[in-house]
Symmetry: C2
Subunit: 429 residues, 2 copies
């Protein structure tokens, strides 16, 4: 069964209307997590959904859900689709919000084109995916699947000292008219549409990417400790210059780790030098490492190697390595991937399988239920930037593939091979 499809024009108009909330002078969007801009976006989304009888509810973690009821009521676990509404401080018009609006568009299309539906279908906007105001991101999906406690998340503060807890309470209070639940319920399958944030689909002139998984990531904070000295009087052989050692280490790491193979991504993006004065030999350099690789074995190998390289080459300074994130690469549900690829083929959208280099909420949902992602191309592979752009026909195509995937899930009592990750979670009543 294939429905005619979504209303692409309405979806595009809504994307452009959402982009007015937090619009930046450079044509992008500043709509950070738990901000007033996000409240406005919530309200707009709830109003749009209400036009098709779709009902909102929220959870204590600040996730917004829009529920299209099926005949089985709470007896069958719902299908969950969506992404996030928050943006980077100078973000674009598509990252996150596209997945949410495509999901709502699917609900409305189902409502009008498929009156008889077994399960509930729920659109979701996860809280704080970007992690730009409150770091790290993906807080809402982590809390939903129980990967991180809500109490711990609530302690995190933004640069002005406001805690997630305080901002969240304010937002939830502003939506006291909307029913509220504790985070987490059983989910039949989760599907997230998103712009690719990479150049592959555009380069190959493809419309749809079936995402096979998310590449693994390790992050570290490293500190090189030397000794402060006078740039004019301290002779070179007596120095313990933390910056000289840092640049040697970093140069070595860029070469050995960053050049390991064509798939590795190695980034030192953040540095703190102390005391950071032109005529003072630096005492301490602290820096970040962001290491990603699709293969978990390689990621572990490179992680171990970079620590060993630094320890070996840090003399005459001392080096300390603090591992922060260790997120192995994950593989999305093969049966869901199959549904996505089949939909693209049926509608004549050129497509391919590809790995997501960036992280997404689907990474956490995959611990909870069968999960998958649908990618559409973005111009020059650019995201997290004001000139981020997606073409209207790709926007429509991605929503149609999401629609078809949901329809397939609704019509097959059991999709062959659909994994069931969830260990007995609470049902949504």
């Amino acid at each position: 069964m294939t429905l005619p499809g979504v209303e692409g024009g309405r979806l595009w108009r809504r994307l452009m209307e959402m982009a007015e909330i937090g619009a930046t002078p450079g044509g992008g969007v500043d709509r950070q997590a738990l901000s007033e801009e996000e409240w406005h976006a919530w309200r707009k989304l709830i109003d749009w959904a209400a036009e098709s009888g779709v009902q909102p509810f929220i959870d204590d973690a600040g996730n917004l859900f829009l529920r299209l009821r099926g005949e089985a009521g709470g007896e069958l676990a719902p299908i969950l689709i969506g992404s996030h509404l928050d943006s980077q401080p100078r973000g674009g018009r598509f990252d996150g919000v596209y997945g949410v609006l495509a999901a709502v568009e699917v609900l409305e299309t189902l409502s009008s084109q498929m009156p008889k539906r077994s399960r509930d279908v729920i659109a979701v906007a996860w809280m704080n995916e970007e992690g730009s105001r409150f770091a790290p991101g993906m807080m809402g999906s982590e809390a939903f699947v129980g990967a991180r406690g809500l109490e711990e998340i609530r302690q995190v503060r933004d640069a002005t000292g406001i805690s997630v807890g305080a901002a969240l309470d304010e937002q939830l209070a502003a939506f006291s008219d909307v029913p509220r639940i504790a985070p987490g319920f059983a989910v039949h399958a989760y599907v997230e549409p998103h712009i690719e944030q990479g150049p592959l689909l555009e380069r190959e002139r493809l419309t749809i990417g079936t995402v096979t998984g998310i590449q693994g990531k390790r992050t570290y904070r490293i500190s090189v400790l030397g000794e402060q000295g006078h740039a004019g009087t301290q002779v070179m052989r007596e120095r313990r210059d933390a910056l000289a050692v840092f640049t040697r280490l970093a140069s070595l790491l860029h070469e050995e780790i960053g050049g390991y193979d064509a798939e590795v991504k190695f980034t030192i993006g953040w540095i703190l030098v102390e005391p950071n004065a032109p005529s003072v030999v630096p005492e301490r350099v602290t820096f970040s490492i962001d290491l990603r690789h699709p293969c978990n074995r390689t990621l572990a190998l490179l992680g171990a190697r970079l620590v060993a390289l630094m320890k070996d080459a840090a003399s005459p300074c001392a080096v300390s390595v603090e591992p922060l994130v260790d997120a192995p690469s994950n593989v999305f549900d093969p049966a869901l991937q199959q549904l996505i690829a089949a939909s693209a083929a049926r509608r004549g959208y050129p497509s391919t399988c590809l790995l997501s280099a960036a992280g997404h909420d689907a990474r956490h949902l995959a611990k909870h239920c069968p999960a998958a992602m649908i990618f559409i191309p973005c111009r020059d592979g650019v995201s997290h930037a004001e000139h981020e752009w997606a073409e209207p026909e790709h926007v429509t195509a991605g929503a149609n593939v999401l629609l078809d995937t949901v329809v397939a899930l609704l019509t097959s009592p059991e999709v062959a091979g659909l994994s069931n990750v969830t260990a007995n979670p609470r049902s949504l009543s």
Copy 2:
């Protein structure tokens, strides 16, 4: 003619009393240029000098002078001795203030032990030697010798936006009871006592260093421009990572320039990374280079080489090099050096000749008149730190050598070989 000597106990007590003005919890001093603390230090100094009939005057550049009149009045150019009262934000009890208090001690000793003196002898406290509040430093001596215009200096602002001009006008207004002149007058000779700020004298168990000159210094501001990217999605071969290029360049420079010979000093002390976020490939790295060498030819050669090395190795980024300071090494007046060394020998102080690795106001005075410096040891060679320390016997010895040098200048109508740099400057009336 050798006078009995200074009152070492009084000089030491005054050093410790001055250290109470702007005292820091860690035992050091925070008495930055044109601060209230410096005002207090000025007032105290003027009061102490007045006890021996020494009269203050100031100039428009914020230099404070204390004048012990000689018989010739304004007919013979005065002998100028001193240093500076301002400190680093976490400075010590000796850097600068020692030279000023030793000079005042010499005036008082001359006043009591040598009633007949030909020339005026003037103690000076130069404005803003350190350059920590208003950068760069040595503003008072630069204005005095005409190396830099006062109007240009007055535009410089501190981190809070206050200009040198505004701070200076306030300080000068607070001392409206003190006579004031325009900067610059003819000087017979300038001698500056100072702690070594290096380890040589202490290591060789010497009391006095006759300073032969100040090593040359070049500073640069370098900018490496690449392209911002996503740490998770941008493949390595397509990156123009400004930090990867910076670390490669810096590592190369530390090796090639910093390892050139035993005398070079090469420091990258300051870095600015943009946007400086862990998951963003850095777009731009701006950094400082501080390069010093006693030999001007070597300094010029290394300066040219470092620029060439960077241009050659910057690919795939663009590099721009902005030279800031180009101060060649200078040689102090040989006849004055002779007088200093002879005094040390006569008083039985073990001494040596040495080059100053740090910059001093004497660098600028040497363009204006015969100039020289007297060094005394400091513990572990440490300065610009709260635990900076000099021994009382060395403090006394340095002041005695300054006394003897001034006496020699007063008693010889012409010291053999004393150079006369000044091209007809205005006489002090």
